[in-house]
């Protein structure tokens, strides 16, 4: 039935000469090779399938602009807090100066920092969306990530919008020291006000979601979704292995492990994500006659 599948089946039987040509075409970006099963897909088809391998279901990494295109209805995206840039407050230098690292990542990715935020329509429903981009310093959380997400959440609170954050992060950005750690508290504070106004927050945990992001906004959803087989955890595997001096259990710190232990509501394949989010948001339109009035909470005006 599926011509694509037949095509792949044939592809595996191909001759070396053809393989050589394919390698060239992979380099040209015409073909993409799945990192999990090694099968080749036509890049355009893979994109149409939201970078999910049609053979094994592996979810390849998605850049922030691609993710926005997957979730937000065309021509409805409005970015928020684009006017802030990272600096080097500690004048941090390890093997390389933080300042230079920032410049490198900025020119490599075209991003200013590791998160993009904005509003738009998701299947016609207005949402506030934050998308972390792992390409930018491993999605690490520094002052700009914290500030951008806070402005997003505050905007959502004042406009009564649900918040969705696509998480992908190695954790805190060490080059900003304690400023980076405090972003965890700052974002959690913004989420407190959002929640106190009975607004829906759904983090989507993608590969990988670890460290300070896991210990803050990734785990604070009213409903928490995860992509299949993502690594999700607080401490790094190596740290745990070192302290334990033993092998870690099978499937440890994966989406499936978290689901099994009650920390994730559902694992949603990427191709179903938009539909699932729309479904959840539309089910959470409040029935005011069933709710006691809101506890008086400070409404913090968003900075613009």
């Amino acid at each position: 039935m599926s011509t694509l599948f037949d095509w792949f089946a044939n592809l595996r039987k191909t001759e070396p000469a053809i393989q050589k040509q394919q390698e060239r075409e992979i380099a040209d970006g015409l073909w993409s090779k799945c990192q999990a099963c090694g099968s080749l897909s036509y890049t355009k088809d893979l994109k149409a399938n939201q970078l999910v391998c049609p053979d094994c279901g592996h979810h390849a990494r998605v850049d922030s602009d691609e993710r926005i295109a997957q979730l937000i209805d065309p021509n409805t995206w409005k970015a928020i807090a684009t006017d802030i840039q990272p600096t080097d407050p500690l004048e941090f230098r390890d093997r390389k100066a933080y300042r230079d690292r920032l410049k490198d990542y900025q020119s490599k990715t075209g991003l200013t920092d590791a998160v993009v935020a904005g509003t738009g329509l998701l299947d016609g429903l207005p949402v506030a969306l934050g998308v972390m981009d792992f390409r930018f310093m491993g999605g690490s959380m520094g002052s700009v990530v914290g500030e951008r997400l806070c402005r997003l959440i505050e905007h959502a609170t004042s406009e009564k919008l649900p918040v969705i954050i696509i998480c992908a992060s190695g954790g805190a950005r060490m080059q900003e020291g304690m400023l980076s750690l405090m972003q965890m508290a700052k974002i959690s504070g913004a989420l407190h006000h959002h929640q106190a106004n009975r607004l829906l927050y759904i983090p989507v945990l993608t590969h990988p979601t670890t460290g300070g992001v896991t210990a803050s906004f990734a785990m604070l959803g009213d409903i928490i979704l995860a992509e299949p087989k993502a690594t999700i955890g607080f401490a790094g595997r190596r740290v745990i292995e070192q302290t334990l001096r033993e092998k870690l259990p099978e499937g440890f710190q994966t989406s499936e492990y978290l689901l099994q232990h009650g920390f994730v509501d559902e694992i949603v394949p990427r191709t179903q994500l938009k539909k699932t989010l729309a479904q959840l948001i539309s089910m959470h339109q409040p029935f005011h006659h069933l709710m006691s009035p809101l506890k008086m909470e400070t409404v913090v005006e968003p900075e613009q």
């Binding site: 080059q175 020291g177 607080f234």
Partner: protein
């Protein structure tokens, strides 16, 4: 609080001072035994010792402060609680099947006023440290802490928390029980409480495990305490790919009280006794009590609404970035 037998836990930079003090003791003994007047020599040596002490402790490197912050004789949460309260009752358990010995808490009175206190608890010796998991709290520890904070909020008691941990417990069991979720939940809920919250870093403030009880109206730090996003050892291993570069990492991460005050992340630095809190624990406790009381009085005059508003805007301002137009 036991007074220290310092020589058992001597740090490298304390050695010259300790040698001088040993000589002083010898001379004093000699003078007493032979009934000779060495008062001039003794006074001279004492002056030298004082000068040396001031020099050493006023120019500590971040790595040296880290050593002091981790000093095995540094007063712990329970030491301070016992020293500064009129009465204290420890309360146990997270009500979900666990009581974490690495994070203790309970109800107390300070200057007659009921409060809820809690903090990370390191051990006194190796055996105690194993029992206390070196002050590394499990998810159940953070859940006990938030349960006690809710109790405080419910009964209108201020919350005093004490940070002293290398970090949250990193282990299979901790992950299974949701270490990330436990800390995250505390961070958000601490913004909701009507009562004043004062947090003091008494020793080592390690990463998310510290912050998990660290959202407060006032953040105080003892002079030689440190507060860091990652241990300098871990940071050196990750960023320098060389664990031996931890001294450099300690410097670069800006972990001392003075640095953090400059960055606008803490409110007040509590001065320590001349040779560090472990040399005169009771003096350190008196400083702590006074600072807590002053801040408590100030915060108690504010309405819950105002308090929460200020707490949020305090954290909201943390972060340094460039606004481009």
């Amino acid at each position: 609080m036991p007074k220290t037998e310092r020589r058992n836990f001597l740090l490298d930079f304390e050695k010259p001072l300790c040698e001088l003090e040993a000589r002083l003791d010898q001379i004093r003994q000699l003078a007493a035994e032979n009934q000779v007047d060495f008062s001039e020599e003794i006074a001279q040596l004492e002056a030298r010792a004082n000068k040396l002490r001031r020099e050493i402790f006023s120019s500590l490197t971040p790595a040296q402060r880290l050593q002091l912050a981790r000093h095995p004789r540094r007063p712990s949460t329970l030491d301070y609680i016992q020293a500064i309260t009129d009465e204290w009752l420890e309360l146990h358990g997270d009500r979900s099947g666990y009581d974490d010995p690495a994070l203790v808490g309970g109800v107390a009175r300070i200057n007659g006023r009921p409060v809820v206190m809690m903090g990370h608890q390191k051990g006194r010796d190796t055996k105690d440290n194993v029992a206390r998991n070196f002050g590394m709290a499990a998810p159940g520890g953070y859940r006990k802490a938030i349960r006690l904070m809710k109790h405080a909020d419910h009964f209108g008691m201020p919350i005093l928390s004490f940070i002293d941990t290398p970090g949250a417990w990193a282990g299979v069991e901790a992950e299974k029980l949701g270490q990330g979720e436990a800390i995250a939940y505390n961070l958000r809920e601490m913004f909701s409480f009507d009562v004043p919250i004062i947090c003091t870093v008494i020793g080592e403030g390690g990463s998310g495990g510290a912050l998990g009880i660290g959202v407060a109206d006032r953040l105080l730090m003892f002079e030689h305490s440190v507060y860091t996003v990652a241990s300098p050892e871990a940071c050196a291993a990750i960023l320098w790919k060389d664990a031996k570069k931890s001294e450099q990492a300690a410097m670069a991460l800006k972990i001392t009280a003075t640095d953090l005050k400059k960055l606008g992340l803490i409110d007040e630095i509590l001065p320590e006794p001349a040779s560090g809190a472990h040399s005169e624990p009771l003096e350190a406790a008196a400083t702590l009590k006074q600072a807590l009381w002053n801040n408590l009085e100030e915060l108690s005059s504010m309405s819950p609404q105002k308090l929460k508003e200020l707490r949020y805007s305090k954290f909201r301002q943390m972060g340094i970035f460039q606004q481009v137009t």
